[in-house]
Symmetry: C2
Subunit: 230 residues, 2 copies
């Protein structure tokens, strides 16, 4: 496999995908066109405008981008593609759409065959075992929470440390993930913005500028440095 699952597409104050540019040149080495999967986007911008945003970035590394929403036969489009990028948005909407269009399995098979894949945020959640550690609001009801399982764990993108100064009784991110572990025996990678999961063949590492927080049943959460094998 040859994949990147990133916490976010955009670092604060930076341009779209800018911080990942050197990595993406390596990920898509030898490829001149990818399919963009815009289905996480619930509003604000259309699938077409969202695709244009990806297209503009990828033009700077000489890769053409086609939006999956434009293809009549989406399964054939995935089977014929050289590589993929799934953008962020709402994970419930993304997973519902992929299941309803019968695309989750075909996308997984194509990625497992070695085609490069980039996911950001919701697009990274679907690389995990299931979407039960998304931060998103359940604005639609997917037929299943199961995802592609490209990695043997779940991802929590945009991982955020709690702010002890806040006078608010909503649960912290850490509490939410610990609650997940009371119901599921699945490791969770709390991926801070600036970090990503890199899988090359069978080797999985965590990369980026921040420490990464890992949650497992029966252990205190612990942090690992960039470059650590997962």
């Amino acid at each position: 496999m040859n994949i990147i699952l990133a916490s976010t597409s955009t670092l604060f104050g930076e341009q779209y995908l800018e911080y990942l540019k050197p990595e993406l040149e390596k990920l898509y080495n030898g490829i001149d066109e990818i399919i963009f999967i815009p289905f996480a986007r619930p509003g604000g911008i259309s699938h077409e405008d969202y695709t244009t945003r990806a297209k503009d970035f990828f033009a700077t590394i000489n890769i053409n981008v086609k939006g999956l929403h434009k293809f009549e036969d989406k399964i054939e489009a995935i089977n014929s593609a050289q590589g993929f990028f799934t953008g962020g948005g709402n994970t419930f909407l993304l997973v519902k759409t992929l299941h309803e269009l019968k695309l989750m399995k075909v996308l997984k098979e194509n990625i497992e065959s070695g085609k490069p894949y980039l996911g950001c945020s919701a697009g990274s959640n679907i690389g995990g075992i299931n979407m039960k550690t998304t931060n998103d609001m359940p604005i639609v009801y997917p037929p299943s929470f199961d995802c592609m399982g490209l990695v043997p764990f779940n991802i929590n993108p945009h991982y955020l440390d709690s702010n002890p100064g806040i006078r608010h009784n909503g649960e912290t991110r850490e509490t939410r993930i610990k609650e997940f572990l009371t119901q599921n025996d699945i490791k969770v990678i709390g991926l801070r913005e600036g970090n990503w999961i890199r899988k090359i063949d069978d080797k999985i590492t965590v990369e980026g500028s921040e420490l990464t927080k890992i949650f497992e049943i029966g252990k205190e959460p612990y942090e690992v440095e960039s470059g650590t094998e997962l």
Copy 2:
């Protein structure tokens, strides 16, 4: 109907349910025992310990509390009860449990017959039309997101204004609720901590110390004062 749907059980720095005490004396006027529904609680404390916490508070207003988890025949327990209180926790777990035990409809019918109901946080989400505006993590997969519809809108508990100082690209609460409105034509009440919905017979008002933010399709979000009829 005679219900309170509160944003939170506990204000920052206060004791459990303390800020609602005068309201709860009115809500449960003439009642000496209620059923506590602890099923939102995924961990940390057991259903029994969670019930004890409610029991300790309600002892101060001379109301006995029995935990629903202790009853063999839970439908019969609900049908025989004088009133109800559903505590907070994880809404996915609460809704899954209520649907699987076939309790959502029987609870709704009992409340609609006039028995007093208090919900806090997840317990308030289930008073709305569906749970699609919860803030919780989808740690389990419920058979449906439908809730009791005691009020003709959805609730977003622990409503939190965005903090422009935060250097983080996760969605704000306002963005999430606006995304909900791209997929659903249901009014959403953003209930800040300190506020609650009060329904007496057919009259619904919002109460408490804060302004309340309301989101509707095709309108800019707007704020209403305590006492406003919804």
